[in-house]
Amino acid sequence: MRTSSERLTRYWSVLVVSALLLAACTQTGTDTTGDTDPDGETDGGDQIELEIWAQEPWMLPSDDFAGFMEEYPNITVRTDLKPEADQLQQMQARTGAGQELPDLVQDDNFMIEAHQNAGHVAPIDEWKDRWEDEDPEGFANILPSAWDENVVDGETLGVTLLANMEGFFYGVEWFEEAGVDPTTIDSLDGVLDAMRTLKGLRPEGIPLTLSALPTEGVTAQKAFLVAAGAEFDGAVPNLHSDGALYVIDWYKTAAEEGLLPPEAIAWSGGEAQGAFLGGQAGLIVDGIHAAADFSAEPGFEFGTDWSMFPIPPSRSGDQQDGNHANSPWTWFVTTSTEHPYEASLALRYINDSLVDMALNGAGPFRNSEALEDAQLQEPWPFWDDTFREAYLESTPTPAGLNGGEVESILEELFGEIVVGTELTAQELADKYQPMLDEL
């Protein structure tokens, strides 16, 4: 028979084990943030830690803020990459768990409203004014649209430093063989004619490759809609507008004439690029940032194997019907940061690092000085006055909080066209517009 002391020992052991388990499950951490004085000056003595989120590695300075930390020894920067669909959800999870948000976050421009609804976004008018006072030259290079796109109810919620733009990458050899000069293509009709010429020369080839795999998005198709002057209500296109009907008919014609591969319905962006890199495809629509991928490909040289031209913002060439479209990403300072001024300093460093980011795969940016930097010839050898002008004239692709649902429906629409359909453009618009109108 066990004694009462042994029983007591056992009960104490259980209690200690349970307490240790509970302690292990409780999050502990040391507060590494330093003090910030009321004026927001960075205190040279106390250590400050900034947490910065971005979607892709090329959206951050390639030195991972090493130069920034050298300039400000009391600031430590920790970066993290979050896929685009994850940021809002993870930030809400952090808030729900009582944890602090990162200090500086980059997300798609249209998601800023969602972040604002969630209480994540802090106005940065104060830090924007200080930026202008303390670094007037650097501030002056930022295009006004970078700020204007993020003004809500008179408050500036963020800054859009990066905004990618789609264009046509083309196979130089195939175009030369076909006798097609891309510099003379000034309309979407002209692109279609060029594709027919390419097909006539190489019947087994793919004049235009694209990614139509569900969940890959319809960025290229939306760029066409904007270029053709389709009407939008937020993120929702009016498929019965002239521009939209034109684009639907354009894709239908291309599919019916064998200018688009039906198996593209299962092609991801990588496979579409692979067809272009492998010489099977004459054209691919992709963002300017993809130039870095093509440049990095051994034996695939700019000028002899590939080059690029903007998507013509005209249907037939008689007039400009639409615009060049860009896809903007916005940086915003979060409401829980204790160091908004330091976060704005990190923004300045990003602004100063834009050319370096382009050298590492980034797309174009809203900075006039950086856009004229000669170093850009390395990642974007096609970058000339035509491209620069097209970019400066570009407008954000229409977007909204229901953008994901819109994309799902547009994927179905363009997927149906790619695999083949008997419906006319009008009938396709009649079929899919009600689904869009429900959103």
């Binding site: 066990r2 349970s18 969940t215 039906p262 319905i265 299962a266 649902e405 997927g415």
Partner: protein, 316 residues
């Protein structure tokens, strides 16, 4: 019982006789609560890791934000109503049944075939049993990428091989029927090793006396397999079917990288619909409603399989 009797019993058995019950105390002085106290940390940990996310997900499926990013409001069953009235959901449910049914049937038939073959393999060929497991070691995503390249309409090896014998291969992933066939084929390819091993293990436990008795009665190999061996494999078949059903109803690893649910929703299973709803359309709460439905569906299917399986079970 007298004390003398107790001592005699103890001496004879070498064990302490049980004492009288004293308010929950055994003869060793152990509280009946003690095992639970010692197990409680593990129980708490397992419950927290396994049950809490499921219960939390079900609870969150009753909420929805008015606009994206806003705090979620209680909406009751509205997410479920919206889900069940969505034509895409009905299509996804139908596609899931086709996917699961096709995978189960093909996997079971092939699994039996290979299990019988490996069972009869000579000693020198038993290395095949080890090789059989190889596909299971490859991640489903890697397998999906591999088969997407193999079945590529332009340069895939399958169409090249078909072309070499004069057959023009279809554009597999642009055709609704062929796309589902490839998805089923890929799923079976990744899960077949487990099926084969389960059935092979079951074959090794079959009492040979039944087979010998059937042989004496004049049954051929095929009839013995159908009427004797396979009924005796019912427990293993049941496990296989339940596992395949679960794997296909909930699995995303094959469909997402292989077809993305296309073409035109032809391979859009419930798991894909859940993914699209939550991560593309950013309707997280409606995605949780679909997830909850999938849990209930899996539970009901499992009960159905067990109920049907009991009718075929043979006591060995």
């Amino acid at each position: 019982m007298t004390a003398t009797t107790e001592r005699v019993n103890k001496k004879a058995s070498g064990r302490q006789p049980p004492s009288r019950d004293r308010g929950g105390m055994t003869n060793l002085g152990q509280s009946t609560l003690t095992p639970y106290l010692f197990s409680s940390p593990a129980i708490i940990a397992v419950t927290a890791i396994l049950a809490f996310p499921v219960l939390y997900g079900i609870w969150q499926s009753l909420y929805r934000p008015e606009v994206l990013g806003a705090p979620a409001q209680f909406v009751g069953l509205q997410n479920y109503i919206d889900t069940f009235t969505d034509p895409d959901f009905g299509n996804a449910l139908y596609r899931t049944m086709v996917f699961a049914g096709g995978s189960i049937i093909v996997s079971t038939v092939l699994g039996l075939f290979f299990a019988f073959a490996l069972y009869r393999a000579s000693h020198r060929l038993r290395v095949l049993r080890s090789i059989t497991i190889a596909p299971y070691l490859i991640s489903s995503v890697a397998a999906a990428v591999m088969f997407r390249i193999l079945f590529n309409g332009q340069f895939g090896l399958v169409n090249v091989a078909l072309g070499s014998i004069g057959i023009e291969g279809p554009v597999w992933f642009a055709d609704r029927t062929w796309a589902m066939a490839v998805v089923i084929f890929t799923q079976v390819w990744t899960d077949l090793p487990l099926t084969v091993l389960l059935l092979l293990g079951g074959l090794m436990t079959v009492d040979r006396s039944y087979l010998d008795a059937a042989l004496v009665d004049g049954a051929t190999g095929f009839r013995r397999a159908i009427h004797v061996t396979i009924p005796l494999l019912t427990p293993q078949l049941l496990i296989t079917i339940i596992w395949m059903s679960y794997s296909t109803v909930t699995g995303l690893g094959i469909v997402l990288p292989l077809t993305g649910g296309g073409p035109q929703g032809a391979t859009n299973t419930l798991a894909m619909e859940m993914y699209i709803t939550a991560f593309q359309e950013l309707n997280f709460h409606e995605g949780l409603a679909i997830a909850t439905f999938v849990i209930v569906l899996n539970a009901l299917l499992t009960l159905l399989y067990i109920r049907v399986g009991r009718r075929f079970e043979v006591e060995a």
